[in-house]
Amino acid sequence: MTIDYAGEVLQGSPRAVARVISWLENEDELARPCMESLYPHTGRAYVVGITGSPGTGKSTLTDKLTQHIRKKGLTVGIIAVDPSSPFTGGAVLGDRVRMSEIAQDPGVFIRSMATRGFLGGLSQAASKVVNVMDASGKDVILIETVGVGQDEVEVMRIADTTCLVMAPGLGDAIQSMKAGVMEIADIYVINKSDRQGADQLFVEVSHRVDQDVHIKGRNRNRSWIPSVVPTAAVNDIGITDVLDAILSHQDHLEQTGTLMEKRRERTRQQTLQMIHHEVFSLLRKHLSESGRMEQLVDAIMNHEQDPYSVVQQLLSEWIKVPEG
């Protein structure tokens, strides 16, 4: 008897959701037909990204935020990403430790994922996992990134609303002036606000937000002014303010029509990425299995050929651009 995994996912079966996510992570060929059936049922969930440096309180905030969202009667899917070892490929995924209160709520599905070498703060499969949880009927999907540095901004390409979690003691005012992760927040969460330095951090980030308005102006695409919200997540302080800020941002995106624009851009990027991935995998497979890759590497190493013309040669052999 074969199980209809797509059908089970649509019924909300956690076991089916869990298995399909594994297929996506492992790039198992069983995933594709399933994702084809699920796709028509996606696009309903609201996606919130939670990012920030290691130890700022992303998991704790995710846990508390989930409890508040549940009180509104909405169901929640959580994707919690932690880093894979570049040496062994293994990983310690520890985000569940902070989520024990919601671990048994049938309205919550938590999946820990390792980056498996993917850069940018997420894993390769994360955007597809969003689609699976969406199709399974989760109303809100929270994506918790790995602890990020300054430049890991992939989450903003998946999330409708991106929260950047910050904590005092990690740098002076210059840090809040920089490009990169500081730019992607729709909401700045100043966590651990009961600790020394939190007020100063709040002021610095608020200044940045004011400066952004001054520098970049306010046009249709920049009409949202990011909220700066102090929290002490571990004591459940300020969480309703974060949720209110998320809802305001959602409302803003819907009112201005930017939600659809955002999702259109996301669809474009994801489709291009899938094309890139599939074409590359196909080429790599054929070149490695036929032994031709090694011949090419030899020829390039011996300077008999240069890599630039090799690539052009391969393209002309493999890819035929239709006329018209």
Binding site: N26, S85, T88, G89, G90, L93, S100
Partner: protein
């Protein structure tokens, strides 16, 4: 298809608060290339099984130092079966009297590793007995 990783839940059922061993083993499993979901202290069997279900875990590793193994370990196996997760490998470790081991194995815990077990023995047992 990319490499399939072994996914293991490391959990401490019951109330004992000593997780140095469980944390060390989590690192050893990661070093062996596994993806380890560390769930933390004071887990109920229901929480452990729910985590195994959502994470699509291949293995559940249970640690107990406080004498509650005879109650909690079989309970985890029983709940896994109830959720039709009967192909999940369950192993245990900690302070467990030798005379309790046959009963635990009969209840479906595949192996028990006591203090002093060389860690490669544990890793080899898991890689050799996990579902394919």
């Amino acid at each position: 298809m990319a490499d399939k990783k072994i996914k293991i839940i490391v959990a401490k059922p019951g109330l004992d608060g000593h997780d140095r061993g469980a944390k060390l083993l989590s690192r050893i499993f990661a070093e062996a290339g596994m993806e380890v979901v560390y769930t933390g202290l004071r887990q109920t069997p229901e929480m452990i099984v729910e985590a195994a279900l959502q994470e699509d875990a291949d293995v559940v590793g249970l640690s107990s130092l406080s004498g509650v193994h005879s109650h909690f370990f079989p309970k985890v196996v029983e709940l896994l079966k109830e959720k039709k997760l009967d192909d999940v490998l369950v192993v245990g470790g900690g302070i467990i009297p030798l005379e309790d081991i046959p009963e635990l194995k009969k209840a479906g815990i595949a192996e028990i590793f006591g203090p002093g077990t060389p860690t490669p023995t544990i890793v080899d047992f898991i890689t050799g007995n996990v579902r394919s």
